[in-house]
Amino acid sequence: MPAFAVPPEHADLRATVRRFLVECSPEAEVRRLMETGTGHDPAVWKRMAGELGLQGLIVPTQYGGAGAGRVELGIVLEEAGRALLCAPLFGTVALAATLLLESDDTEARARYLPGIAAGDTVATVAVSAADPARRPPGSGVAAAATAEGWRLTGEEPYVLDGAAADLLLVPARTPAGLSLFAVDGRLAQRHPLQTVDRTRRQARVTFADTPGELLGRDGTAGPVLARTLDLAAVALASEQAGAAAFALERTVAYAKERVQFGRPIGGFQAIKHMLADLLLESESAISAARWAAAAADEGAPDLPALASLVRAYCSDAFVRIAADSIQIHGGIGFTWDQAAHLYLRRARTSAQLLGDPAFHRERYLQRSGAVA
C-alpha cells in the first residue's frame, strides 16, 4: 500500500476511539481528574481495556491482545492526545508493553502482558523519561545479586505514570552491564510530583534494596531499552501531533466565532496568517508522526535517526501551536477556565519527556551519520 494510505480499519479504529473519548474524556472530566490524587478514573481504564482493547492493542493475540502495530498505536495516541486523556496509557502501553515485546524474555511476557491487556495491570518503565543527555537511561539505579535474589538501589526522578503503576520495569546497572528488572510497584518508594501538566502524572521513584526480578539475560538490556525508547519517542510524537491538531482546531473555531470590531477575529490578516502557519506545523507534525510509525512497523533501519528527527519536530510544533493558541484566544486564553493553557501545559511537558528538542536534533545528526 502506498505511504500514508489509510485502510478502512484504521479509519474505523480512529472513529471508535474518538467516539469513546468524546464520551469519557470531555473537558469537564479532564478538569475533574486533574484535581484528583491519582489522576485517572479506574472505571474508564477498565472500559478502555474491555470495550476497546486499547491496553492490549499491541499485545499479541496469544496474550489476550489485538496484535496490532505501531501505526495503530499511533492512531490511538493521536486521539488520546486530542482529548488530553487522563490515564496511564503511555506508561503502560508505549513504554512497558513495548519493552516486554522487545525483550526476548517469553516467560515475562506471558506473566505480565495478559494483565496489561486485560486492564488489570498498570505498568511503566522506570526510566527518567527526561534529560537523557546527562542522565542516560538506566544510569540511576544499580542492581546486586543477593542470596534472596536481585536487590535494586537508586532513584529515577521523573517516572511517567510512576505512582499509578502496579508493575515497574526498571533498567539498572549490574556488573554485567545494563539489565532489566520487574519490580512490584508497591515495594518502591514513590513520591508523586506536582506536575505542571496535571493530566499526566509523574513520580520520583526510589529503590532501597528493593527486590526485583531479572528480565531477559543479565547485561543485555542495552539494545532492548534503546529500541523501546525509539518506539516510545515515535509514540509520543503521535500523541503530540494529535494534541497539536486539536489545539489548532479549537483555536480556528474560536477565531471564527469571536467577534471584535464587528467581525470575527479570524477575518483579520494577523490572525489568519498565524493560523495558516500553524496549520502547516500541525499537518507536518501529523505527517511526521505517521511516517515514523509506519517506518517502525516496517522495521526501517534508520528508525533511531528518524525517531529523533520526528520527536524534535513534533515537540516544537505542539509547543508553538499551543502557545500561539493562547495568544489568539486573547484575554480569555489567559484564564484558567479556558482549555488553551491545558494544551500548553501538556505541550511544554511533553517536549521534555524522553529528551528535549535540542537533544533530539543533536542525536539525529549523530544517528544519521553526520558525526562531528
Binding site: 534529560d131 526522578p157 510530583l193 506536582q194 483579520f268 486564553g333 484564564t335 528535549d356
Partner: protein, 399 residues
Amino acid sequence: MSEPAAGASAGRVREEVAAWLAAEWDPGTMRAGRPRTQFVAKVVEAGWAAPRWPRRWFGRDLSDDEGHVVEEEFRRLGAPGSGQDRHNLYAATVLTFGSDALKEKFVGPMLRGEVPMCLLYSEPGAGSDLAAVRTRAVRDGDEWVVDGQKVWTSSARTAEYGMLVCRTDWSVPKHRGITFFLFPMRQPGVEVRPLHQITGESEFNEVFLTGARVPDEHRLGELGGGWRVLQTALAYERSVMGDRARAGRADSGMAEVGDELVRLAAETGRLGDPVIRQDLARVAALRKVNEWNALRAKAEVEQGSSSSVMSLGKLAMSRILHESARVRTALAGPRSMVEGPEEPIGDESTFLALNAYFTSIGGGTDQIQRNIIAERILGLPKEYEVDRDVPFSEVRNSG
C-alpha cells in the same frame, strides 16, 4: 550618563522644594505605614503633589519644567507623593471631567491616596475592541441604573470606587454612545468574583453589575462623551507605565550583564553550552536595546520632539518576556515539568512562560500594538472598520 535637568526659572522652585523637604521629610521614620500617609497629606497640602495644577486644586500653577524639578527633588530623596499631576489617573480624570462638586469631594482624598479605586473597562465581549462595551446604563431620575459584566478588574474587592465605562445610547455608532462614571463599588448590585489566570493566580476579578446605581453627579464628561474620557484616562495609564519602564535604568552599562539568566545557566551547569550561550547573548541584547530605546524616548520627549520609540516598548517587552521564558525553560529542562516549592527552578520557568501572555495580551495584544505602531507612527492606512457609522445595536457581536 544622566544628570538633573536644569532650567533658568527652575532654580527658585528647586530651592523651595528642597527646603520644604529638608524640613518635612525624614526617611528613617516615614517609608511606610501611617507616618508615610501623614507625610503625603502634607505634600498635598503644600501643593507638591500636583504642582502643575491650579492652586485651587492643590497645585501651584507651575510649568511642566518646574514640575519636573519638584519630582526630581522628591526622587533624589526617595520621598513619596509627588508627580501625581502626571500619574494619578483617578484624580486627574476627575479634575478634568468632573463637576466642581465632584472635584471638591474627590480630588483631595484621591491625591492623599485615601480612595481605593479600580478600573471597570474591559468586558467579555470588549477586549481588543474596548469601544464595544455592552454594560448598559439607563437613566432613572438623578441616577443611572447599571447592568452588565466587567472583567480583568484588579483590586475590585477592596475598591471603593471604579472608573466605569458603559453604554447609554445604542442607536449611535459604538464610540459615540459611551458614558463614563465614577462608580461606587460598595453597593448590593455589585458582585465580585475572582478570575483564575492560567498561572494559577487570581490577581483579577470579574465584576457583575445587576441593577447597580450611580448618581448622575458622578458622571465624568458629557453624556455619550465617555470615549474621550477613556482616552484621557488611558493616556495617563500609559504615561505611568512608560515612567515605570524608564525608572531606575539611568546607567545601562554592561555591569548587570551577569544577569539572572546567566546565573541560572551557571547554576544548571549549562553555561558552557554554545547553543545556550547564543541564546543568553540574544536575550541580553533584547533587554539592553529596550533600555536604550526607553532612554532615547525620554531624551527625545525632553527635547520636545514626539518620540516614536516610546510606543515600541510594550511590543518589545512582550518579546523579551517570551524569549526569556523560552531560554529559562531550556535551562530548567525536565524540571520545567514540575511546579511548586519543591522545584523552584522549574516552577519559575512555567510561571514566567505563562505569565508572559499577561504582557502580550493584556492592555492591548501584540497584534493591536502592531496596528497602533503601523498606523500612528508609520502612517500606514487604518484598518477597515465594518462597524464604523453603524448604530451599535446593529453591530455583530460574539454573544
